[in-house]
Amino acid sequence: MKKADDKPRIDRRTFMAGGTTAMAAIAAGLTGAPAGFIEDMLHKNFRELSPERVQNIVHEMAQEYTAKYGKMVTVSAQGAQPGVLFGYGLDLSRCVGCRRCVYGCVNENNQSRSPQIHWIRVLKMDKTKGISLEESDPYYNPETVPEENAFYMPVACQQCRNAPCTKVCPVKATWQEPDGIVVVDYDHCIGCRCCMAACPYGARHFNWAEPELAAEEVNPDMHYLGNRPRPKGVVEKCTFCIQRVRKGKYPACVEICPVGARKFGNLLDENSEIRVLMQEKRVFVLKEDLNTQPKFYYFYAT
């Protein structure tokens, strides 16, 4: 005789998952979505997965992308190191507005080339007016930079300690990692864009269409929470190049900056460049009055 415990039980989660599967089947039929769609949908949140499951998933992802792009792709799920809190410094007196960081970021982080998504926006400002974010021009396009009477302020995710974007997410698809990086799980985001409405810096970007990314331009060194290719309909953002910084490298924008305007380091390490900078320079953060507490510091070296 069977024990009562052997009976198949349907708890709430299983039941909902069943409903999800049925809906997924319908949606897949309607949209002609690829196979694997249902598995996609039942993906747990990244943070709920066991380490073994994460390893399996990133392994499968690496295989999928390797096949898709015809080059050896690795997908990491490396976690935060203890004792690390990343911070960023930007020297406004050095920035010349060349936008090399913008495109360096696009190449490093596999952003969609069409429609174009830029995680960094460089704002041109009038020297006589000082910092006036509302009037700043992100679309400047002169023959040469820097222009007379202009200065430039690159803005990307400010990696707020008190992030307005993460708390509005209805599905826990975005959160702050222990090393302070605000990340998005692209396999979990429902694309409601509440986080974009909540972000006062315009730092989040939405995939309005299937992102286009040519195989020869793919950066094969990927991270699950970072630069792996995104599907359409989800939100993405700067992760301080999570795939690089967790391996001890600088973010791509820091490396590419021709004038050395960009600084990066561990805020918990007293001897790091970023800490020295905060001691020595007069730093400020954007929209301090909104109490978002960014870990992205602007300063004037001269």
Partner: protein, 450 residues
């Protein structure tokens, strides 16, 4: 005996009010066919959007939210027609409510689904929508919305259904088709004084319970905007402003529905001029309150003079959104106030003109809340403009026609005016009201012990 013959031989109230259930005109079928066609077209547009992504809409960065979110707020606003207005009139013992509560409650229950579906249409990944339940994050205003709309739908369906039971039992007893439906829905009710008393007690409790629920729904919708730090959204007035706007547009929608029902089902004897006059007075009051709220919202922004907020405000007052803004002011205040403040224009046609203006104006109000703020980010000027694409407009038309269609169908299965409440009114309301009024009069000094 056919259903039609059965109903034709009944006394006036039942004959007139049950006639739509048993006789369907060609005009009805033509309109139903048109509505089905538009709804299917909207469904096609949605499938197109699913295939091509949200890029097939007019949305773009930083214009994240558009028609769908506007329609979300709009339809949920319309849904306040029923439950809230009917509940307030019931609680206030307004005797003239008797013929209008049912049609109002039907609007609520039927439109709420079309409102609730809008944020799903807006999702980048609608296939993952169940994540909202599977992995909900209690701190997200969007989750509060899901919960409060769910609760509101449940409460308002109950509040529609319970007062309909005596009518359903009557239809069951008459043996109208489909019999299984009416005998199922009537849940074995027999109209005895005792069961009537229980029923009225339940209605009394429900009428009180649905009021805070209805208020919570639109408050939370306002908070989706107000809890962000964006210019002109981050405002304490948004909760009450949204609730008040919802009631305003709800009254207007109800007036339009009543006028159409009166015409197509010959209900002039039930939706009388006095009903339109009274609803017109409610509209008048609400348009004055709307003006006050709008003034309060804008003047605090203007006087505070914060840079991003001012940019948004001036884009509405004099900039690229001046047309929708001032059209909204005309539709929500000048037209309804001008027409409703005079008794001569508080007629059926006068209230309908005012109501159409209010419905358009309240749609524009949501446009003026969502779009100008989106296009005025706190960082960087925006060169984008927002023009809804054919996909968004088709889906919007499809949701309007879908709602009209289900409302039309509802009038074919359920009496759109409460028969038993009308009869009860004929029997007791005159004596009830005289007694009530007598109770207001001063007592005789001699009988009062000091």
């Amino acid at each position: 005996m056919t259903d039609l013959e059965r109903v034709s031989s009944l006394p006036q109230d039942e004959r007139v009010l049950l006639m739509p259930l048993v006789r369907t005109t060609t005009t009805f079928w033509i309109w139903a066919a048109i509505m089905v066609a538009i709804t299917l077209w909207g469904a096609y547009a949605y499938i197109y959007q699913l295939r091509h992504g949200l890029g097939s809409t007019g949305l773009n960065t930083p214009e994240y939210w558009g028609i769908y979110i506007i329609c979300f707020v709009f339809f949920i606003g319309i849904s306040h027609a029923g439950t809230l207005i009917s509940a307030i009139l019931r609680v206030a013992n307004a005797e003239w409510r008797r013929s209008i509560t049912r049609s109002a409650e039907f609007i609520t229950v039927l439109v709420i689904g079309f409102g609730a579906i809008q944020p799903v249409l807006d999702l980048g990944r609608p296939d993952r929508v169940l994540n909202v339940l599977l992995h909900s994050q209690a701190f997200s205003p969007l989750l509060w919305d899901v919960l409060s709309i769910g609760l509101y739908f449940t409460a308002s369906s109950t509040y529609l259904y319970i007062p309909m039971i005596p009518d359903l039992a009557r239809i069951r007893d008459l043996g109208l088709h489909p019999r299984w439906l009416y005998s199922f829905l009537a849940i074995g009710y027999t109209d005895t004084p005792k069961s009537r008393q229980t029923l009225e007690k339940m209605i009394g409790i429900l009428a009180i319970v649905v009021i805070p629920i209805a208020i919570s729904v639109h408050t939370v919708i306002g908070w989706i905007f107000a809890l962000t730090l964006r210019p002109m959204w981050h405002s304490a007035i948004f909760g009450p402003y949204f609730v008040m706007g919802a009631i305003f547009s709800g009254i207007a929608a109800l007036i339009i529905a009543m006028a159409i029902l009166r015409r197509v089902y010959n209900l002039g004897a039930y939706f009388k001029d006095v009903h339109f006059n009274n609803m017109g007075l409610l509209l008048l009051v609400m348009s004055a309150i709307w003006f006050y709220f709008t003034l309060a919202e804008n003047i605090t922004v203007w006087y505070g003079g914060e840079e991003a907020e001012l940019a948004t405000l001036y884009s509405k007052l004099t900039g690229s959104f001046a047309f929708p803004f001032w059209l909204m002011v005309a539709c929500c205040t000048i037209i309804p106030f001008g027409l409703m403040c005079r008794k001569a224009t508080r007629t059926v046609s006068g209230t309908v003109v005012a109501s159409v203006a209010v419905v358009i104006g309240m749609w524009l109000e949501r446009f003026n809340i969502v779009v100008p703020t989106s296009l005025h980010p706190r960082v960087g000027v925006s060169l984008t403009h927002y023009f809804p694409s054919w996909v968004e407009l088709s889906i919007m038309a499809g949701t309007f026609s879908g709602f009209i269609l289900v409302y039309m169908i509802a009038t074919k299965y359920f009496p759109i005016i409460s028969i038993w409440e009308i009869q009860e009114g004929r029997e007791i309301s005159v004596s009830d009201v005289s007694e009530r009024v007598a109770g207001y009069l001063p007592d005789d000094m001699d009988t009062v012990k000091s």
